[in-house]
Symmetry: D5
Subunit: 160 residues, 10 copies
Amino acid sequence: MTRAQLTEKILDIKRERNWTWKQICAEIGGVSDTLIVGALLGQMKLVKPLAKKAATLFGLSEVEERMLNEVPYRGTAMPPTDPLIYRFYEMVMVNGPAWKALIEEEFGDGIMSAIDFDFHFERMPHEKGDRVKIEMSGKFLPYKYYGAEQGIPAYGYKEE
Amino acid sequence: MTRAQLTEKILDIKRERNWTWKQICAEIGGVSDTLIVGALLGQMKLVKPLAKKAATLFGLSEVEERMLNEVPYRGTAMPPTDPLIYRFYEMVMVNGPAWKALIEEEFGDGIMSAIDFDFHFERMPHEKGDRVKIEMSGKFLPYKYYGAEQGIPAYGYKEE
Amino acid sequence: MTRAQLTEKILDIKRERNWTWKQICAEIGGVSDTLIVGALLGQMKLVKPLAKKAATLFGLSEVEERMLNEVPYRGTAMPPTDPLIYRFYEMVMVNGPAWKALIEEEFGDGIMSAIDFDFHFERMPHEKGDRVKIEMSGKFLPYKYYGAEQGIPAYGYKEE
Amino acid sequence: MTRAQLTEKILDIKRERNWTWKQICAEIGGVSDTLIVGALLGQMKLVKPLAKKAATLFGLSEVEERMLNEVPYRGTAMPPTDPLIYRFYEMVMVNGPAWKALIEEEFGDGIMSAIDFDFHFERMPHEKGDRVKIEMSGKFLPYKYYGAEQGIPAYGYKEE
Amino acid sequence: MTRAQLTEKILDIKRERNWTWKQICAEIGGVSDTLIVGALLGQMKLVKPLAKKAATLFGLSEVEERMLNEVPYRGTAMPPTDPLIYRFYEMVMVNGPAWKALIEEEFGDGIMSAIDFDFHFERMPHEKGDRVKIEMSGKFLPYKYYGAEQGIPAYGYKEE
Amino acid sequence: MTRAQLTEKILDIKRERNWTWKQICAEIGGVSDTLIVGALLGQMKLVKPLAKKAATLFGLSEVEERMLNEVPYRGTAMPPTDPLIYRFYEMVMVNGPAWKALIEEEFGDGIMSAIDFDFHFERMPHEKGDRVKIEMSGKFLPYKYYGAEQGIPAYGYKEE
Amino acid sequence: MTRAQLTEKILDIKRERNWTWKQICAEIGGVSDTLIVGALLGQMKLVKPLAKKAATLFGLSEVEERMLNEVPYRGTAMPPTDPLIYRFYEMVMVNGPAWKALIEEEFGDGIMSAIDFDFHFERMPHEKGDRVKIEMSGKFLPYKYYGAEQGIPAYGYKEE
Amino acid sequence: MTRAQLTEKILDIKRERNWTWKQICAEIGGVSDTLIVGALLGQMKLVKPLAKKAATLFGLSEVEERMLNEVPYRGTAMPPTDPLIYRFYEMVMVNGPAWKALIEEEFGDGIMSAIDFDFHFERMPHEKGDRVKIEMSGKFLPYKYYGAEQGIPAYGYKEE
Amino acid sequence: MTRAQLTEKILDIKRERNWTWKQICAEIGGVSDTLIVGALLGQMKLVKPLAKKAATLFGLSEVEERMLNEVPYRGTAMPPTDPLIYRFYEMVMVNGPAWKALIEEEFGDGIMSAIDFDFHFERMPHEKGDRVKIEMSGKFLPYKYYGAEQGIPAYGYKEE
Amino acid sequence: MTRAQLTEKILDIKRERNWTWKQICAEIGGVSDTLIVGALLGQMKLVKPLAKKAATLFGLSEVEERMLNEVPYRGTAMPPTDPLIYRFYEMVMVNGPAWKALIEEEFGDGIMSAIDFDFHFERMPHEKGDRVKIEMSGKFLPYKYYGAEQGIPAYGYKEE
């Protein structure tokens, strides 16, 4: 069994029972919806208690439950051909250089982590048409290289 | 003169005068920093009063000022090889399918606009290491196709 | 079941019953033919009443009907290798820069939406060989970035 | 001199004199704006009388005038990274299969020409936001293969 | 059933009965061999009377016969890895610019159609080794853009 | 000096003197027009007497004449974005499999040479629009692999 | 049945019977090992008497035997990800320009055939570690273009 | 001035003065050689005191010194065509899946940071040929997603 | 049976029996964990005694045991989309040029072998978060080209 | 100065003085022609005494001489578009799998080195057309992974 086959099975069950992602996430709970849906779509791992809940909900076998608890080989085809996902890709393509300039000026040399980050979205009512509001925060990780004496950090990368 | 040559000139001046983006944005003002830096890096247009301010600040010619007011051919090379920008790309690649599922369930068929959107980031102090906090909102645009009678919307795409 | 398998099944039924797309669109009705055919080929969503009609017409199960009502992962392989589709691609490749220059001069900085747009084609008889006539209109979406005070639009992007 | 250098020169002059494309097209006239702008951007050929007018307008040398009359090596980088042009690309990517199905059913096996076609766009006022209206027509070219006796068409491709 | 599955079935039958393409083309007849073989390999459409003959020859079902009469999604993977096909690709890659220069000088701005064209090859005996002789002709299609008054051709593209 | 710079120089001279390729080929003569134009565009080598003639015609230096006599690094960017060249590419992409099947059946395993081949095109007047007529022939090269005893051909590849 | 399926079947049998390629090549014989192994892996054609021997050895059906006698669609995915094959690819990538310069100086304009060539490798014992010794020879094919009079070679390409 | 131009200048000076990287790193000091060489080649930032030392050593202007202190747009062309760098790429390509399995089993879901890591290499004498010995360590970053209550970590990702 | 199918079977068994890679490697033993896990994932060969142990452990057939002893077609899709593997790829992309400069200065022209190398990783406890510590060594292979007299090394590549 | 600029300068001098590669290699001598030509084309390093000879021959500066002694960033664009180089690429693409099977069976798991190898070609007269004869040998490098105890080779990879 591959992870893609498990995803297809889960989507078939969701369709048959006419469930929404909201209902599914409410049943499994504990972590953000992005994580739960991501795991069911094969991009994230569910920790054991949540994998158990998901297995109970979807009537999965013990082996399928373990697979939900495994770290998958992450990533999807790029560039995205789907318009909704492409718009995010375009934001990065067009605004990436400006974000880089501003974040590095504020934080020094480093990155905003895509591993230790949280993500939240909500509907923002607006008279000219509702908006999707997204909040995320990621830990800033300063670039570090250690000194000539192996293992002894000398200069940190962030300037005073 | 190409837009890339103008960007190189602006960066040379910034370096010579030892300015920060913060100082530059404070001088030009009026719109978000992302937009101002994006325009100076050749990805955005500055509206006329701001292009004038930028030209004064950098000592640009009238023709260069007009170029800042032109819509550039947007977009940068993908996939990004720079680690800071790549992390945003990775977020889209890994989380795109989950975002699609959740946004479509909440809003119906459509996209979050990458054109009518705002973006804001700030430092979020944290004891285990400061975080980059990002807030953005984009107008939701429902997919629309019109009815058999040309120009007469029949069914909207959003289900009741 | 994947969406591609549903498309293959629908095409098999169409072939067996010797139906034309015209007949199928007339049966399902309500929205433009492009939308109906696009949905049956796996690129669009059919709203519930139309998905029901399509399911009745093709004798689909309730689960298959629900799948027609789902938003698919859109997009097809590019560059198109099929000559008919390639000609449209070529129009964009050759004329894109001119369209960009003219539309931006008329409307300001922004895009013509590929989401809120309609499309109609018809045969245009011509003595030297009939022509395909296409009419489409898409909402113009001006580029917007908000001001330094978060959420407060300052300058719109369209110049006076 | 390359065609790209000529385009850069023309854009420099346009910027210096603060002309609009509308003004330029009105001066040169005779053919559609898309063609004139396309030629000045290096994707189209201007016929001799128009190349002469353009040369007079921009103060070009005789050699530069001849270059405007040459057929350029057409085509721009794909996929387009600029959002305005990408939206057209996306229309083809998402709707191509449906267009193919409908056009072939109406016209038989063949293509809509990207060579013998006209293109026109205009502003379509709309209370919820103006729309870009595009009309184009292209000659339908039926696929033809000739019979076993070389040069003797046997079956045409269009079915009765 | 997909077109690729039909092609595989046809090739299996050809192999079992030990037929040559020559024999198959002689049985189906009416159009050039390239078209018949192309259709059986899934790149062309067979008109109805020929699809019927092919179906009788290969013992195909009525549905399979209809599929042979459908326009396939054309095109194969590029660049070609097969040496025989690559040589044709190389001819275009190396000689394309010269062909473009010579054809445009003789015919004006336009293309040689890949849709309305015929193709014929034969063995040309030669003492130093036989040669493949190819003759093809394609309709020349002049580039046309219509005048400012919509639909009224002004200047044709071919210079006097 | 690079070959591309020499090509640009030659094109500048051709434009200044308002020559046609026909005139240039008539002056240089001796081999087919495709070869002469190909060499001047940087894809072919001119043999010494022809390189001398070309140098005299264009007023080139002795070093430039020698460069015309060198074998260039052949090949141009693929896929071709120019419509005229793309049509040839499309012919190979769509018809390649049929050509392969027919040529191999007639000649056995091997290729039609793209090295030892000739090419000729002419205008073919036609009431519905003139056609480009192309004739080419290439030596057939049978695939050969030699026997277990090194250098001793055992089985040829062409079946009796 | 596809050629890939036949290859998989042959490899399964080889594994079950614990045969080496040496044993297989000794049984089939007549041509070089590279050809026999290449054909069993789906990249080459076996002439009829050898296809018969291979079919007897592996217990293949008559149809499978015919498939071994067919010319396959040649070529494998590039760049090669397997280290052994990549090293050959790297040799071409790094040394290609030097080989081109030296071969063209010795032989004139043309290529070393990849069609009419033989290949042999053997173990070359060496005290610092054995070496793989490869000998190959390919027919040199001079570039030829024929003269203005169609079919009459004028200048050959090789200079005196 | 671009960063690539600064790199070229630095390499020219290094060549003229016949310096080794070892000498240069000893002069600048303070951090690991990889960092110093990386910065001089345009892939890393030098902190201010080191940029000053480098500027003194190479006789750079104040503006060039500031550029060395800027974070560059990182990344080089991939796949690497240079054999030395390709071997590292190959290690990742071949061993990546095993490293992923083993690291995730030991550390849980997450990554080894490419930002907070150190790298050291040295010559390891060996009788059969010296070896390159590499030691590196990178901080393990566990994947984190926060709970349904925004900002409140619920389950950590690492299983007990 | 393909190697990918064997990998899928092995992963299914590992999941069913709830084994860790550590347990599996301890059972098979003899070589490093990277090699054992790599072989079970289809990237490496297990020598016969280890393949036998693995077969016993997983209950594989004799044919499957032989497949584990075969050299697979190595390599995985690049660029890696999985974040853990991407970080290694990024290290090569960003630091490759510096590693090349330093290794070549120390060892002369050549490469660090990706074939004769060993790899070891371990957890390195750290108060700010544990680190992944990696040690590897690869044989340095100097670039060698032999002298004009075939087979007689003249200059070695390493300078005195 | 870049290496590409040095190559262009060397080619200009070679052209002006009308030298052949044979003459140049005879002057520089000591190593194989492939190496010398490769170095002058920017793909190889010349050891010091040879770089000195080359500098004297071409009248290069001391800095240019040092550059010839540097290891360049190797590799050229792939796939090769030049027909001569492509034929070598095609040999690898078509025959790679067979070479892999045969070499691994003879030598065990490993590669033939592209670093420690020699290459020699000569003209092989033949009545049907002369042939290019190539001999090369590369050291076989067995795949090695060391045992669980770090640095202690356990099983070699080559089976008895």
